[in-house]
Subunit: 268 residues, 2 copies
């Protein structure tokens, strides 16, 4: 069983990713696809007159500030647009895809972050009214039921809080949590870089292998921006018992096949 | 088992509908909720710079012209916004709601309409490039699996064509097709009128009961606009073996409880 994450920052070869999934499914492989939606949310938020706002945490992470209106746009775009376009494409390729968000059947339960500690204009500040969370539980039984019935789950990065509210969650962490909950054979995180780079953005400095016990060290030394969350996700997945974790290029032809053939950064 | 349709034309008491569903589920009743999204699609299409276009068929029906961009907005709004807001509200009320569209697991298979025959400026015309369809098959096994696992399915009115394309389908006909496929005990269609009116829009002329064999006569004599599709849906449901079909007021307190207590128009 394989969990694939296709990034939300644009530039990926979605057509090739869907083609690879169709090939794996034809061969009898069980696949779960998790997607993002950050870039498309920015585009549609702008058009709807509520542009995205990004904040920098005191620890230096840049993240979206998800007020209630942003949450509703994010949910609409990820669960209603990107998710259904992927399901449609896969259905056209003969895959019985099944799109869902973490709200549906409480697939992804998360704890809402009480407040964001951010830095604005050089000053620390507490931002309230943020609708994002950290995943605490995956309804693995639901995914197993869908997989056993022959469906291919396509998961949008929206979770449900313990109180039943929708929450924006990070897609890489969703993929890590799902692969750990299912004890998947592999997790492949596809993005618009070839893997972890020793000197970002020089693609000739790709790190081919990170031993399990040196992942945190690599995170601190080499990961920039979004790559930090991807590497955090891989560490969680490896700890959760996932056999093989790969960060690979999602822009190429046959991105999943190439990752399985040894391209990208293998963690573990 | 009960199938409830909550109209997409605005003005409904969604809070009260969710409250009634939560009460039924607590009592052990199996419920499937089908929703619309026409009004909200108009609002968001307008904001996104692609306003809705309505056409009149040669037989006099007014319907949405669903070009590809409209299909994508319709899908985003119904499956990603309205569907997830309903799921969120029901989750907050303790109901394990599960939102899905007809694309997901091929829940609703439809045949794409080859072309719309419309009248524009008094002249008949053939409109191509329409992405709407007529439901031909319901994946009842999928709904039964969800219901048996304790989930409450919430269905958005998007179907999948035999070729795997997304299609806009009528929510009332979706509810009718699902209730017939599940051989539901009842179908309740909630809208912003009290039921079928003898002289629309005079709400004092409510028709309380339509015998099964006189439904088509009533359709021709009294149904106006959207009510035609609702009545068509009820005829399909009754023919499909649904025990009790009610068209009732969705604007009131306890709309489902009131319909079950004898309010609205009972067909059959």
């Amino acid at each position: 069983m394989l969990v694939v994450k296709a990034g939300g920052n644009g530039g990926l070869n979605t057509e090739a990713i869907c083609g690879d999934i169709a090939e794996l499914v034809r061969k009898g492989e069980q696949v779960v696809l998790v997607h993002g939606g950050s870039h498309e949310t920015n585009v549609i938020s702008e058009k709807l007159g509520h542009p995205s706002r990004f904040v920098t945490s005191v620890s230096g992470h840049v993240s979206r500030y998800t007020d209630r209106e942003t949450l509703e746009i994010f949910t609409m775009v990820t669960a209603g647009r990107l998710n259904k376009l992927l399901v449609e494409r896969l259905q056209q390729l003969g895959v019985n895809a099944f799109g869902l968000s973490g709200l549906d059947g409480r697939l992804l339960e998360a704890r809402r972050k009480p407040a964001l500690r951010v830095v604005e204009n050089g000053k620390p500040k507490v931002l309230r009214g943020d609708w994002s969370g950290r995943i605490e539980r995956v309804n693995a039984a639901l995914l197993r039921t869908l997989l056993a019935s022959g469906y291919v789950p396509i998961v949008a990065p929206v979770a449900v809080s313990h109180e039943g509210e929708a929450l924006n969650v990070d897609g890489d962490r969703v993929a890590a949590a799902i692969s750990a909950a299912l004890k998947a054979d592999g997790l492949i995180i596809l993005s618009n870089v070839p893997g972890l780079l020793r000197r970002f953005p020089d693609e000739n400095t790709l790190i081919h292998h990170i031993p399990k016990d040196r992942a945190e060290e690599h995170l601190k030394l080499y990961a920039q921006g979004r790559m930090k969350k991807k590497l955090l996700g891989t560490i969680e997945a490896v700890r959760g018992g996932v056999g093989m974790v790969i960060i690979a290029d999602g822009r190429v032809e046959n991105p999943i096949r190439q990752a399985l053939a040894g391209e990208g950064t293998l963690i573990g």
